[in-house]
């Protein structure tokens, strides 16, 4: 059950983290 929990959260967490990083990178242009 714990392995499944970790895999599921990683499956949704990794793409979300990638999207947030990309957006944050773009957002930082406002402060340059």
């Amino acid at each position: 059950m714990k392995t499944r929990l970790v895999i599921l959260w990683l499956a949704v967490g990794i793409p979300l983290a990638w999207g947030v990083t990309q957006t944050l990178h773009n957002a930082l242009k406002l402060f340059r």
């Binding site: 979300l16 999207g19 957006t23 773009n26 957002a27 930082l28």
Partner: protein, 452 residues
């Protein structure tokens, strides 16, 4: 076989099932359908399908292409309202599967439309079919999450609805990446990107279909005891979806959502030109794009933070904060513009957009408090028509008033001031509706035996 797997009775969780497996299932669906917020990345490439690098005669115009998104949002609201009862009946797995087929199918039909250069196939594909996928997918996990987290309904639905905001953060860079990967001398890569995204999103949504479970009828979180004296605005009774329509509370909540969304969506649509015009020359287009990105992050984060906070503050108090703080911030924004303070201007809009997101994510738990859990998903679906109305009202108000001001000689830098004060007026209407919220009268409560 497939039908058996999708049936509600086969999704009932076994004893000891970890309820934290359900939010990622909901997130898989919401992160996918949240792509809709980033559809504008395709608008320009869709006008260059023949010319590839620039629009030529025979290419679709921007004016025609923007209708694809508008149709999708219209069908989001109407399908959520229309299929809410069906979603409640068949359960989350079958409805998530249907949403996946519609949403991904929308991409494939649209790709076919690009291949044949028939715009109506994109209206039908992404607009109608994809829009139905958006609506069904949006409401699919809501009541399931509320049943799994009776102790923290705001946090649970906030987590899922945060995914809808986060979906755009993934889809925008992904679309650009795929289009540049598939770009050749003969194609600008949109067709191939549509097919790829259709396949990717179908597979990603299947994670949700596979993982979602509903709790057994008598299930409660370990050690949790329902409060013996709940707040007057948290009911222990139930109201059916057909009866909910007839209560004043439904229409008060409809207005609360509509006013909150109208104010936020109007800003989102014009964020980039607004900051450039208000601070004329001091904010470059690239920095303005950064401002839009920052607003998207706060829109997403606000969905989780505010909905979670509502579990502690109470739903009505949370909306009171949205409206009162919103009025304060909107009325201050013109002054911040005149003072030339970019940092404070950006900070004010970040908080405003967090409350816009929070309005979406807190509403399912507010509905649960007022109407009970019986048909909360279906009632939520009908309430989403407020979103469709706000989607038209917000941008229209914002651009119409701005154009009117500029037409009457107001400098561009000051043209948004009146709009901000009008947004304050809308928020005041929302505040009054929220203030008028009372428990549903007993005559509307459901007293029957069949709870399907």
């Amino acid at each position: 076989m497939t039908s058996t797997f999708l049936n509600r009775e086969n999704t009932v969780a076994s004893p000891g099932y970890n309820r934290f497996l359900v939010p990622p299932a909901a997130l898989a669906v919401h992160l996918s359908i949240g792509q809709a917020y980033a559809f504008s990345t395709f608008n320009l490439p869709l006008t260059k399908l023949i010319g590839i690098t620039h629009s030529v005669s025979g290419d679709w115009s921007q004016k025609d292409v923007v209708w694809i998104f508008s149709i999708a949002i219209a069908f989001l609201g109407s399908s959520a309202a229309l299929f809410g009862r069906w979603v409640e009946t068949v359960g989350p797995r079958k409805s998530m599967f249907t949403a996946a087929v519609c949403f991904s199918g929308g991409f494939i039909v649209s790709a076919f439309g690009i291949h044949l250069h028939q715009l109506w196939l994109l209206y039908l594909g992404y607009g109608v079919l994809g829009g139905c996928g958006l609506g069904i997918g949006y409401i699919s996990p809501v009541s399931t999450l509320i049943k799994w987290f009776p102790d923290r309904p705001g946090m649970a639905t906030g987590m899922a609805i945060m995914g809808f905001g986060g979906g755009a953060l993934i889809a925008a860079p992904l679309s650009i990446l795929l289009m540049s990967h598939f770009k050749t001398a003969a194609s600008n890569g949109v067709l191939e990107t549509f097919v790829t995204m259709g396949v990717i999103y179908f597979m990603f949504m299947m994670i949700g279909v596979y993982a979602v479970r509903v709790p057994a009828a008598d299930w409660k979180p370990a050690g949790w005891v329902p409060p013996s004296r709940p707040s007057p605005l948290v009911t222990s009774a139930d109201v059916t979806v057909d009866m909910a329509w007839r209560t004043p509370q439904f229409w008060l909540l409809w207005m609360v959502l509509c006013m909150n969304v109208t104010a936020g969506i109007g800003v989102l649509g014009v964020a980039s030109p607004m900051i450039q015009e208000v601070f004329g020359g001091r904010v470059a287009p690239a920095a303005a794009a950064g401002f839009v990105g920052l607003l998207s992050l706060f829109n997403m984060g606000g969905r989780f933070v505010w909905a979670t906070a509502s579990d502690y503050m109470g739903r009505r108090n949370t909306y009171m904060v949205f409206f009162l703080l919103g009025i304060l911030l909107y009325s201050t924004v013109p002054t911040l513009g005149h003072l030339g303070s970019i940092a404070l201007f950006v900070a004010a809009f970040c908080i405003i957009l967090s409350m816009y997101g929070g309005g979406f994510s807190t509403i399912p738990a507010y509905l649960r408090d007022i109407f009970g859990t019986l048909h909360v998903g279906a009632i939520h679906g009908r309430l989403l028509t407020a979103w469709s109305a706000a989607g038209v009202l917000g941008p229209m108000l914002m651009s119409y008033i701005r154009d009117y001001q500029i037409g009457h000689g107001v400098p561009k830098a000051q043209a948004y001031s009146v709009t901000m004060y009008i947004m304050c007026g809308l928020l005041l209407v929302g505040l009054l509706c929220n203030f008028a919220m009372r428990p549903v009268a007993d005559k509307y409560h459901y007293h029957g035996g069949d709870r399907s």
